[in-house]
C-alpha cells in the first residue's frame, strides 16, 4: 500500500514537472496538422511585440497585415510597440517568477537578443518545421537561417526579412562613389570633414567597423570560420586600427568627436554637413527622401571589396505565449509570398525577402521581379554580388571596447 502511494506521488510529481515545463502542450501542438492548427487559431488574438519607431514598418502591420490576417484566418493581430531588449527582459523575469501564461505571442528579433532568449530557454519550438510556407518557399537548408550571428537557430525562429548594409551619398556632390576601402580612404583625404561614422557602441557604427575588419583581416573566410577568441581577434584587427587612425584626422571635426548614433549621422547628412551616411537596411533612404529629409539626389553604393554585410531577422514564439496556434498561423502568414511582396513594396516597409526565388511559381515570381523598390535602392544583383554574412556576435562588444582604446584615446 505504502509503495503504491509512493508510486502515485511520483507520477503526480512527474506530471507536475511536465505541466510547468509546458512540454505537454508542446507535444500536443506538434502532433496537430496544419489545418487543425489554423482551426484552433480561429477567433484568437495574437500579440506581436516589436520595435515601433518606423512609420513604414508600423503601417505595414496596421494597414496591411492586420486586415489580411483577419480576413484569411479570423485571427486578430495586435501590434505592441516595445524595444526588444525590454521584451527579453520581461520574459526572463516571467520565467524566473514561473509565470506560464504570458502576454506575448510573437517576438521580432535576431542576433544578440535571440542568443539570450535561446540560452535562457525563453522560446517555444522548434517552430519552422510546422510552417508550411517555410517548407514550401524557403531554402530550408540555407546557412542564413541555420545561424543567426553565429548562434544556431535550430528552428526556434522563422526568417521574416533580410537586410544588407549600404552607404548612401549625395550624387550632386559626389560623381563616383568609392568601391573599396582604399578608394574610400583616398576620398576621405580629398574631402576632409565630409565623412564620419557613428561611434562603436551604435548598432550601425559597429557594423561599419566590421566592414573595415573584413577588409583588413588576412581573409574573410578565416574570420568567419574561426571561433572568436581575444588573441585571434587582436591579431586580425591590427590592420583595422591602422586604417581607422589614418582616416581619423580627415573625418568630420577632425575625428575629435563621432556621432553617438546613426540618427546624428543622418542629421549631419540631411543638413549637408557630411556627404555620406550608411545603414543596415538597403531600402531605408527611400522614405527619408520621399519625406524630404534626405536630398532628392541621394543614391546608394556598396563596397565591392570587402562586400556588404547582410543578416536575416526572425520571428519567434515565447515559451509562455497564451495562443501558440494563432502565433504559428500569423508567422506562417508573414512568410507567404503575398505578405513578403507587400513588405517589399516601398509604400510600406520596402524590405527585402528571405524567400528563395527558385521556389516561386510564375505569378509570384513576376510580382517580385516587377516591383520597383525605388531609385535609392541598389539592384538585387548588385546586392547579392557583394553579400557577406555576419561574423560571430562576440565581435560586437569586443570591437566596441577596443575602438575606445585604439582609436578614441590616442
Amino acid at each position: 500500500m505504502k509503495k503504491r502511494m509512493f508510486a502515485m506521488a511520483g507520477v503526480v510529481f512527474l506530471a507536475g514537472c511536465n505541466m510547468t515545463n509546458g512540454d505537454q502542450q508542446e507535444q500536443e501542438l506538434s502532433d496537430l496538422t496544419w489545418d487543425e492548427i489554423t482551426a484552433e487559431a480561429e477567433g484568437d488574438t495574437v500579440r506581436l511585440y516589436m520595435w515601433g519607431g518606423d512609420e513604414g514598418i508600423n503601417r505595414y502591420i496596421d494597414d496591411y497585415a492586420i486586415p489580411a490576417l483577419k480576413e484569411a484566418y479570423d485571427v486578430t493581430l495586435e501590434r505592441i510597440p516595445l524595444d526588444t531588449n525590454e521584451i527579453i527582459q520581461k520574459l526572463e523575469t516571467e520565467k524566473r517568477a514561473g509565470q506560464d501564461d504570458g502576454t506575448i505571442d510573437i517576438i521580432w528579433m535576431n542576433g544578440e537578443n535571440f542568443k539570450r532568449a535561446k540560452e535562457n530557454e525563453l522560446l517555444y519550438g522548434p517552430i519552422t518545421d510546422q510552417l508550411p510556407a517555410f517548407e514550401e518557399f524557403y531554402d530550408t537548408e540555407s546557412l542564413d537561417f541555420a545561424y543567426d550571428f553565429g548562434t544556431e537557430t535550430e528552428g526556434y525562429e522563422a526568417p521574416w526579412g533580410k537586410v544588407q548594409f549600404v552607404f548612401h551619398y549625395d550624387s550632386s556632390k559626389i560623381d563616383e562613389p568609392p568601391s573599396n576601402l582604399e578608394e574610400l580612404s583616398a576620398w576621405i583625404q580629398e574631402n576632409p570633414g565630409r565623412f564620419t561614422y557613428p561611434a562603436a557602441d551604435d548598432f550601425t557604427g559597429n557594423a561599419f567597423l566590421r566592414h573595415i575588419l573584413y577588409g583588413t583581416a588576412s581573409s574573410v573566410d578565416t574570420l568567419l570560420e574561426e571561433p572568436f577568441s581575444e588573441e585571434f581577434a587582436a591579431g586580425e584587427s591590427a590592420g583595422m586600427w591602422v586604417y581607422l587612425n589614418e582616416i581619423e584626422s580627415n573625418l568630420w571635426r577632425g575625428g575629435e568627436t563621432y556621432p553617438g548614433t546613426l540618427e546624428e549621422l543622418d542629421r549631419l547628412y540631411s543638413q549637408g554637413e557630411v556627404w555620406m551616411t550608411m545603414g543596415y537596411n538597403e531600402a531605408r533612404a527611400e522614405s527619408l527622401v520621399a519625406d524630404g529629409i534626405f536630398p532628392d539626389t541621394t543614391k546608394a553604393f556598396v563596397l565591392e571589396d570587402p562586400g556588404s554585410i547582410g543578416n536575416t531577422h526572425f520571428l519567434s514564439i515565447p515559451y509562455n505565449s497564451p495562443s501558440k496556434e494563432a502565433a504559428l498561423t500569423a508567422i506562417n502568414f508573414f512568410l507567404t509570398p503575398e505578405a513578403q511582396l507587400a513588405k517589399l513594396d516601398p509604400q510600406y516597409w520596402g524590405e527585402n525577402t528571405p524567400i528563395d526565388p527558385s521556389k516561386l511559381d510564375g505569378d509570384n515570381l513576376a510580382g517580385f521581379e516587377e516591383l520597383d523598390r525605388g531609385a535609392t535602392v541598389l539592384s538585387q544583383e548588385a546586392l547579392l554580388e557583394s553579400f557577406v554574412p555576419e561574423v560571430d556576435a562576440a565581435y560586437v562588444p569586443w570591437i566596441e571596447d577596443e575602438w575606445i582604446n585604439e582609436v578614441v584615446s590616442d
Binding site: 500579440r47 527582459q89 524566473r96 517568477a97 509565470q99 506575448i104 519625406d291 529629409i293
Partner: protein, 265 residues
C-alpha cells in the same frame, strides 16, 4: 525693471522655443543656409494620429499620472511634515534613505519589482504601473513637501488647534492653502516624471498598458524632426491638463473659506 528682465528672459527662453516647436511640427526639414520657405505639411501630425491607440494612450497616461500624484501627496505630505516638524532619532538617516531610490538605475528597479508585481498579480496592469511610478517620484515629493513645511511655522497650526479646530479642519484651512506653492511644484514634477517613464512602464505594463511614451519614444530614434516635434507638442499638453485638474481639486477642497482668508492675509 525687474519685471522686464523676467518677461524678457521668459519670452526668449520659453516662449520662442515653444512656438518654434509648434512651427516645426508643421514644416518639413530645413537645411542650414536655405532660404526660409514655409511649405506647410501635416505629415508630422498624420504620423502622430496614425496609431489608432494614440488617444487611449494619452488618456491612460493621464489617469496613471493622476493616481501617482494622489498617492504621492497622500504619503508625501505626512512624511514631509514629520521630517520637518518633529524630532526623532535617526531622522537624517531616514531622510537620506528616502532619497536613495533616485540613484537606482531604472532597469534595476524595474526587474526587481517585476517579480514582486507578478506575484501580487499587478504585472501587466495599469495599477501596477502607477505603483511602480512611485519609485522615481516619491523622493522628490517628500523633499518638496519637507521644505514646504519648513517655511510653515508650527505655531500657526497650534493656534488653529487652540481655537478648537480638528486636525482635518486645520489641514484644510491652514496647511493646504499655505502649502499650495509646494504642492504645485510636487504635482508638476510628479506628473512630468510619471509621464516620461518608458522602461518602468514597458517592463511592468508589459505592453498591456500602452502609455504615450510607449508609442512616442521609439520615434525619437529617427531624424524626422517634423514627427518628433508633433509628438513633443502633444506630450507637453498632458502635464498642463493634469496640473489644471489638481488645481481644481485643491480649490474645491480648500473651499471658499480659505480663499477669503487668503485675501485677508
Amino acid at each position: 525693471m525687474k519685471k522686464w528682465i523676467f518677461y524678457g528672459s521668459a519670452f526668449l527662453l520659453f516662449f520662442i522655443p515653444a512656438i518654434l516647436l509648434i512651427v516645426k511640427s508643421f514644416t518639413p526639414v530645413w537645411r542650414w543656409g536655405e532660404p526660409f520657405t514655409f511649405d506647410w505639411t501635416l505629415r508630422g501630425w498624420e504620423t502622430f494620429l496614425m496609431d489608432a491607440r494614440i488617444f487611449d494612450a494619452m488618456a491612460i497616461s493621464l489617469v496613471i499620472a493622476l493616481v501617482v500624484t494622489f498617492l504621492n501627496l497622500f504619503t508625501g505630505i505626512p512624511a514631509g511634515k514629520a521630517l520637518s516638524h518633529s524630532e526623532f532619532r535617526g531622522k537624517s538617516a531616514l531622510e537620506v534613505l528616502l532619497v536613495l531610490p533616485l540613484f537606482l538605475p531604472a532597469m534595476a528597479a524595474a526587474v526587481g519589482l517585476h517579480i514582486t508585481m507578478i506575484r501580487l498579480g499587478l504585472a501587466n496592469n495599469w495599477l501596477g504601473v502607477a505603483i511602480v511610478h512611485l519609485v522615481p517620484t516619491i523622493p522628490y515629493t517628500i523633499k518638496v513637501m519637507k521644505s514646504g513645511y519648513d517655511r510653515l511655522n508650527p505655531d500657526m497650526l497650534q493656534q488653529g488647534k487652540m481655537l478648537g479646530a480638528g486636525g482635518w479642519h486645520v489641514f484644510r484651512t491652514i496647511e493646504l492653502p499655505m502649502l499650495m506653492p509646494s504642492i504645485r511644484s510636487a504635482v508638476f514634477l510628479t506628473v512630468t516624471i510619471s509621464m516620461s517613464q518608458y522602461v518602468l512602464t514597458a517592463i511592468i505594463g508589459g505592453g498591456n498598458v500602452i502609455t504615450l511614451p510607449i508609442i512616442y519614444y521609439p520615434f525619437l530614434q529617427s531624424v524626422d524632426d517634423t514627427v518628433m516635434a508633433a509628438f513633443s507638442v502633444a506630450f507637453a499638453i498632458l502635464p498642463v491638463l493634469a496640473v489644471l485638474f489638481v488645481e481644481l481639486v485643491a480649490t474645491v477642497l480648500t473651499g471658499r473659506f480659505s480663499i477669503s482668508k487668503r485675501g485677508a492675509l
